[in-house]
Symmetry: C2
């Protein structure tokens, strides 16, 4: 049981960043811990999820989700433990996942939280393979990408939270899995630990040559997390009828100017291919189905989940930049002090 906390620290959005978020785009605030109202639950946050999508949430303008308001606590996925509950579904001591933001304690309506079980998987996995990144990989690959056995599936940011799961599911579904990741250590991990057929080190190798070598029958499914030059390169290696899943474009999130569009998009015509976007929240009614299947794979040792844990909420601004430099190895999380 977590001791009751009387003070809360939070990162709030102080300014809308231009380019990479700077320290001055955040304010780190201290305030009394909140108290739960009717049907609300007070949670001590243990882990905070750091996701590329956060960069988009900091911008104004129409997107798939409301921007974070200036002055508001930065939105983030979280897992933690219930300190006090005024909702009949939760009791002190329960573990819960939610979107409680970059802070130490938070109050949420019970309806916004789901219980998680640390005996099934370590708490941090509920922000990783059994959480939003895992759901993103599962539904993006299977529902949007529709791979069939024998297909070649390529995924970028392959050693990241989503990419690691995409490649492993591709293998479980009888596909050839090729990852694109930065650095020899990540590439070795993908092949030796996760069972990818090949990995291409975009920081040191020529991606186009790597695709030629490792995808001799070209690319049937490309799960794109990065956009930019890598997307353009994969477009030159599509197989007839290929499916490109647009999940993210991290290489473009911190541009000062407009993002780089894929110059080679007319390959969609030449190769009778499609490029399709999706938002994982649309699949919420099916999360349980995916989580059960993935938990079973994990239990059977067929699906591994790697997390990259940074200790201390005060390191949030710096940790977030790790994502945009491609320095995280596995799902990037903050472990909150005292959790």
């Amino acid at each position: 049981m977590t001791p009751v906390t009387s003070v809360n620290h939070a990162f709030r959005l102080a300014a809308r960043p231009v380019g990479l978020p700077k320290d001055s785009d955040w304010s780190f605030t201290e305030e009394p811990a909140p108290e739960p109202g009717d049907d609300e639950v007070l949670v001590k946050i243990h882990y905070i999820s750091l996701d590329p999508a956060m960069r988009g949430w900091m911008n104004e303008g129409r997107s798939y989700i409301r921007p974070v308001d200036l002055g508001a606590v930065m939105r983030a996925g979280t897992v933690g433990q219930v300190i006090a509950s005024r909702h009949p579904g939760f009791s002190a001591g329960d573990y819960v996942a939610g979107t409680q933001g970059v802070q130490e304690v938070a109050v949420s309506p019970g309806g916004h939280l789901i219980k998680v079980d640390p005996r099934v998987a370590p708490l941090e996995v509920y922000l990783s393979t059994l959480g939003m990144p895992g759901m993103t990989a599962y539904f993006g690959l299977l529902d949007v990408g529709q791979p069939v056995p024998g297909d070649t599936v390529v995924v970028s940011a392959a050693a990241g939270a989503v990419g690691q799961v995409v490649g492993q599911i591709a293998k479980l579904k009888g596909c050839r899995a090729v990852g694109i990741a930065g650095g020899p250590e990540k590439c070795r991990y993908l092949v030796e630990e996760l069972g990818f057929d090949a990995a291409i080190d975009y920081k040191n190798d020529n991606v186009r040559a790597g695709l030629k070598e490792h995808c001799p029958d070209r690319v049937n499914v490309y799960f794109d997390n990065v956009g930019g030059e890598i997307l353009d390169t994969v477009l030159t290696r599509l197989a007839r009828g290929a499916r490109i899943i647009i999940c993210g474009s991290i290489s473009q999130y911190n541009n000062d100017g407009p993002p780089r569009g894929p110059s080679n998009y007319m390959a969609l015509l030449v190769d009778r291919a499609r490029m399709q976007g999706f938002v994982v929240f649309d699949y919420m009614p099916r999360y349980a189905e995916a989580a059960l299947e993935m938990a079973r794979w994990m239990y059977e040792g067929k699906l591994k989940s790697r997390e990259d844990v940074v200790e201390g909420i005060e390191r949030f601004p710096e940790a977030l930049l790790k994502l945009f430099r491609g320095e995280n190895f596995g799902k990037l999380l903050i472990k909150v002090n005292g959790a």
Copy 2:
């Protein structure tokens, strides 16, 4: 019956153009008319189709069809009349459509030609609404775009060969049709003659404002013939689950550098949309089905076809440039001298 021709004039590809095709990229040759061999047919060509896709065929490199070889007669769709036949399926006097190139007379294997009937539609319509552009509109819109009644369908190059058919089929299928075209005359034509709900004059009006005004429920289906800035603008106005049909990108064909990719492609994610390319040749087994339905619509007065006819094969190089300047109004054709 066309008199036998003893001399043939042809446009051959002399050089691979950089940017817009120049006169020096062509050679205009005179040679004896060919004679048909076994199973071949000699045709006097009446109309030659000028298509944006021709620009791509002039480039080297992998595409959906072989490039035209240097020195070869420029590839083009044609209709004409049989002069002499050594194929059992054709007789002198028959009218035929084929891909016989930019020349006055040509020999082809009978299996490469199809008979057409000038009593059903004027000969030029077999290169237009009952030909490749019509098939492109029909299968691109219905098969790739999958419009449902009530959808808003937007088409660019709307007064061109493909665009005019896309908008009219959209209306026949119970959709709202909005065309993007250059100049008030074309826009008036689309609305007053072809029954489009609205038209946006990209040369004189703000396309984004026009889309806001004429597509209040945003855009469900966008049939893209142009790429570039217009594609980027439509991407900002997509409805949830929109389908973008990639048919062409005429605004980019004559760039010196790489084509402009759609900067706003992440709208595919925000709007859960897809962008899909196709090649009309894949639908060849279903051409007859489409032609029958479209001929019936034409007979019933529900589908109009407009052609823009340039007289004289010697005007081919100049006529082709009309396409890239957006100066054609309807399907652009060359009428061969003496046809």
